[in-house]
Symmetry: C2
Subunit: 709 residues, 2 copies
């Protein structure tokens, strides 16, 4: 049985055996059976408990093999020390899917890890697929199944959001939070140690789940970064379902805490952040932020542009909302003439009929209805944000109902923020029950709108077109790298790295190695002054530090002087270095210096880096990353995302640089990274971007190869 | 009567007349009297209503002058069109303080502005001080007064937080929010249009109010920036009370909305932001953020360092909290041996006894009590953050009580985050009633701790020491600027600006004006090569654009060539320019280029600017501001707050620059800005900061004088 069939059975079993249950209320083994029973599971339940003859009035079996009928799913709450026996019995009975609730595995150290390996082996042997161990369980709210196979106190409402979590404890907090806001779920899955079924399998399952429109996932550790990206891109491009995630371990301290908690090793968080963005996954920092964005995506249409109308009955909150909207990159819509006319006619003269629209403190439902329905019909408006503060004459419930009614007739998004808590509670309740996303703060409302609008753009992206550069000479690079390996080189300096880049179609600067001053003069004349002269030796890594580089050499005389100067410095600092000669290279003046690079991430594999050159990369840490391979859209995005882009785009009357040459170089680098896994790191520093149309050059480079085994 | 006496009477009246009240329930005029009566005001109430003989069973008077006894305070709900009549009657009756609730003044345009001016005149004539118009009213929760002189639906609990708001509507939302979280207030003041009493007067009053420990203020427009800074610094340094503010209009759109709402003009928000920080005021973006920080400051001790212990019963939230702590610049405390021993003895072996401490999902109150009390006694811990997720065996109320009990015996701060909503509600209620700051999210808890710790540092700051540079030659600068004014110059180029800086003790580069090439050679030899040569003409502002500057001139020959080159360019581009000569100046090589400047803000007055030089100031907008005058602490803070500071401090083995010379220059600039209000703008671009101990130089400068009237 494949994993997906296993999952289908986990979510839609006709019969469940709860293995290891007991009669002690308030314990996990008891509660999990009681939950299934009380929450009205639509199939047959079999308690399995060696010491009892009945649980909650239902006949109990000593062993699972004793059950006379077939069992689709086993929910196991046996102690970890004897779990292998339970698993063997599953095999014997022919049960093919399981949820293992019990803790005491990988998360408790070496001993537990052994146990986990053992049950994995038994499961593989008997073709069993399972969720867990060390989890809260699984919930399917669908009325045909209605399964609460978890020890969560209460079953959530039905809804179109799926929630997956690596942390069981977080699940209980989330269920509690969601219940108070009438947020419903299609599936609710705590997957714990993911010894068998992992987040990739679950995402693939939810892709085709007709009950799920939005997927939320809490992760402490990513099993396979590349696979996660692939399945996410597949889900978004094929079904348009948004995926939101909280990935813990943003900081080093957080990662350490996560590692001690899950026993895993994390890659760099900035790579993870970039990779999630590249895959179209919306990363959130807090549970609240995740649900604020999720309800917007799950309840309302996705806006196709970012022009919002704000409607308020109070100036102050209107100002705060306008501030927040602009901070979140929204535009305040300019209303069309028709809207303005209607407002002039139906709103009081003291009202502010420009955006944000202030319907004034004494506004009642009729005024709100006019304002909301008119803005929703305005072609210049892509969505409406309604704010209410409770004044003594505000008919809060009637306004909530008016908002709900207008919202249900429109294909544009409508969100609301009824400020305060106690007084507006019944109004909020009406909104929440009718799927109008509600926010305590106008600021969160704006941020949710932006997120929905960004998801519109994510859906439009083309991430599938990845060019294959036909002029990239794979064979030659193979030869060059193998040659270096036979020489036992791992750090390849410029003289080795530049030919590699050249073979992959990178523009490099003309030049060559001179072994005498006369040679150098000849070369300088060939490439044309000014030139740069650099020491070439595989024993000298930091050329600039030892005085091994002279810039801006402009005459025969100066070539002679520079030649001697460089050699003298090299001999002085590294008397034993084997010197190949001096590299004489055309010097480019003008242009913007940037850095391009390749590195490898333990979780996501080949990563391409782009950043501003010079000292500034260190000071401003203005860099962006993407996982290779990628196409032009992604390359452009990684350039645009840096502040350095402003330098390239031609601020303050400066001429714009050749960004398309830069984009081309990044894509070639991505291809190189994928084609040659032996390249551990590569830096092009600097890559010089010339004016628009004039291209760019890899002016210096170095490669680090992985150590041979 | 002074404003402060007026305020004392507004907050502690023995008798109140409500002028313009009526019998119509649900209207402001009625509700305001009913609120005072029902909320149990401790003095005497007199309804004044021309058409009624009694309101809510209390004898009504036709006019305020008809009241036989003296009246301390008038609360006025008369229509704005006849407000002047009401004010005249107050004068006649001898009432000296008032709260004007009615709207229809400055906020509705020209007509309303006239009305507002009229009542201000009448008030001044009769020595009346008043709050409003256009406000929600004033609340004093003190049991000896117990005054709800507002149309807010319910009176808040008593507490040690004062809340001031320019927006009335926001007040109702805030009261509602606070009630649901048991947040109490000492005074609650909606001050509306502040036609008489403004936020400065109120802050001065609250400074000495024994019931108020923390002050919150929502502002749309600042009456007098300098005065606000002064009163804030006075409050913080003399009483240690923190002030938190939301200042609306962060973005241009927000400012426009605020202007249309309050009829005011705003200065630059980045100056406002810097000025509030300089004054020690904690600026918040949202109501929720403000209260999250306020309860930490109002309920618990202020931490003196930033090492926190995190205690959790679930790994996931522990990781998220560790991430958040580090992101908020907190340190995860390393426990001392004693703590570790106690944890080993009293916590289960599966617990994580390092920070974040995981007491494991099945923890009950006893385990929480051990963990919290032990960390609170650890010398390496400055505060404890408790996280709880509801598991089936968690005794939530008992844990809340344990936290409260431990917290009440310690002089370090203790905050909590019980995650979820419905299930943990009773636990949260216990925490809130006992002044343990509670946060829905561990992230908000960390951010509140950081804010409290930062306030500790704000309290320690010395903002009073402002040096007076004795070597600053005020007289000479006066002469130089007057001379420029007699010549009708407003844009002073380098040749005028440099002497001004020199007279104020700024290090400048030696040089002088040459009127012949021979002259220039002589000067170059005097100051030493290399030199910079620049065209000097008051008619040429952008020297560099016309080819009027030659850098790095290193020989007599080159001086000759540069002299001719510059003159030729000047004649070509500006044939009619009056040329004073060519400035020959010592050239400094090395050093970091920064920009210093003066500008004037409509609200805060003289402002000094510091930023990174070159193109990067535009790209990264890496600048900081402070209001002049200021001392060394402030100058250092404005340098440290920029990212450019990393460039100056010596990253990656670079030699650190002379930051103290830079600090000196900023303070001198502040003094110059204060001494000469006629200086509208001044730029030193670049100021070159040399290596530590070698000082710095103002290498070029320009001054813009204000236009003479």
């Amino acid at each position: 049985m494949g994993v997906q069939e296993g999952l289908q059975q986990i979510f839609h079993p006709e019969s469940i055996a709860v293995v290891g249950t007991n009669r002690k209320k308030g314990t996990v083994p008891h509660d999990i059976f009681a939950n299934l029973l009380q929450d009205n599971f639509q199939g047959v339940l079999y308690p399995v408990s060696p010491g009892e003859h009945a649980i909650s009035g239902v006949k109990a079996y000593k062993y699972i093999v004793d059950i006379e009928d077939p069992v689709d799913l086993a929910v196991i709450v046996f102690p970890s020390s004897v779990m292998h026996l339970a698993m063997k019995q599953l095999g014997e009975k022919g049960v093919k899917s399981a949820i293992i609730i019990s803790a005491g595995f990988r998360e408790v150290g070496e001993k537990g890890k052994e146990r986990e390996e053992q049950i994995k082996e038994i499961a593989a042997e008997h073709d069993i697929h399972f969720i867990g161990p060390n989890c809260l369980g699984v919930i399917n709210t669908g009325p045909a199944v209605h399964m609460n196979a978890s020890f969560a106190r209460k079953m959530p409402e039905e809804g179109n959001i799926a929630f997956l979590s690596q942390s069981g404890a977080l699940c209980t907090a989330v269920l509690d939070y969601a219940r108070s806001k009438h947020i419903g779920f299609s599936k609710f899955i705590s997957f714990g140690n993911k010894a068998d079924i992992n987040e990739i399998d679950l995402l693939r399952y939810l892709k085709d789940d007709p009950k799920t429109d939005v997927i939320l996932i809490y992760l402490e550790e990513i099993s396979d970064g590349r696979a996660l990206m692939d399945v996410a891109q597949e889900i978004i491009s094929e079904t348009g379902k948004p995926i939101l995630t909280i990935k813990a371990g943003r900081t080093e301290e957080g990662a350490t805490a996560a590692a001690s908690h899950t026993g895993s090793l994390a890659g760099s968080d900035e790579v993870c952040d970039a990779a999630l963005r590249q895959a179209g996954i919306i990363r959130c920092t807090t549970i609240e932020e995740m649900f604020n964005k999720a309800i917007a995506l799950a309840y309302q249409p996705i806006p196709s542009k970012n022009r919002v109308a704000i409607i308020t009955n109070a100036g102050g909150p209107g100002v705060l909302a306008a501030d927040a909207a602009v901070r979140e990159d929204l535009e305040l819509a300019s209303f069309n003439d028709e809207t303005t006319e209607i407002f002039k006619k139906h709103l009081p003269s003291t009202a502010n009929i420009k955006n944000p629209v202030d319907v004034i403190g004494d506004a009642r439902a009729d005024r709100y209805r006019v304002a909301v329905s008119t803005t929703m019909k305005d072609d210049n408006v892509d969505g409406t944000l309604v704010i209410l503060t409770p004044q003594s004459m505000t008919d809060i419930e009637a306004i909530a109902e008016a908002v709900v009614e207008v919202g249900s007739h429109e294909s544009k998004p409508l969100y609301a923020s009824f400020m305060g808590e106690a007084d507006v509670a019944t109004g909020i309740d009406i909104l929440q029950r009718h799927k109008i996303p509600h926010y305590i703060l106008p600021e969160s409302m704006c941020s949710a709108f932006t997120s929905a609008y960004q998801f519109h753009n994510i859906r439009q992206r083309d991430t599938n077109t990845i060019p294959k550069f036909a002029d990239a000479d794979t064979k030659q690079v193979s030869n060059l790298l193998e040659e270096a390996q036979t020489e036992c080189l791992t750090h390849l300096p410029e003289m080795y790295a530049t030919p590699v880049l050249k073979a992959y179609g990178f523009p490099t600067l003309p030049g060559g190695i001179a072994t005498s001053a006369e040679d150098a003069v000849k070369m300088a004349q060939e490439v044309g002054y000014p030139v740069v002269m650099k020491i070439m030796s595989k024993d000298i890594v930091h050329k600039i530090d030892i005085g091994g580089i002279v810039l801006n050499v402009i005459s025969e005389d100066e070539v002679h002087r520079a030649y001697q100067y460089i050699l003298k410095n090299a001999h002085k600092s590294s008397p034993d270095a084997e010197i190949d000669g001096i590299y004489v290279q055309k010097m480019v003046t003008g242009g913007e210096e940037v850095i391009l690079g390749i590195k490898r991430d333990p979780s996501f594999g080949p990563v391409v880096m782009f950043g501003l050159g010079g000292t500034y990369v260190e000071v401003f840490h203005d860099v962006s990353f993407r996982v290779a391979p990628f196409g032009p859209g992604t390359a452009d995005a990684m350039i645009h995302e840096t502040t350095a882009y402003n330098l390239l785009s031609g601020i303050r009357g400066k001429s714009p640089r050749d960004v398309s040459a830069l984009s081309d170089a990044l894509q070639r680098l991505a291809q190189l990274a994928v084609d040659f896994p032996m390249i551990q790191e590569l830096d092009i520093n600097p890559f010089i971007v010339l004016d628009d149309g004039e291209g760019g050059f890899a002016a210096d480079a170095r490669i680090m190869l992985s150590k041979q085994e």
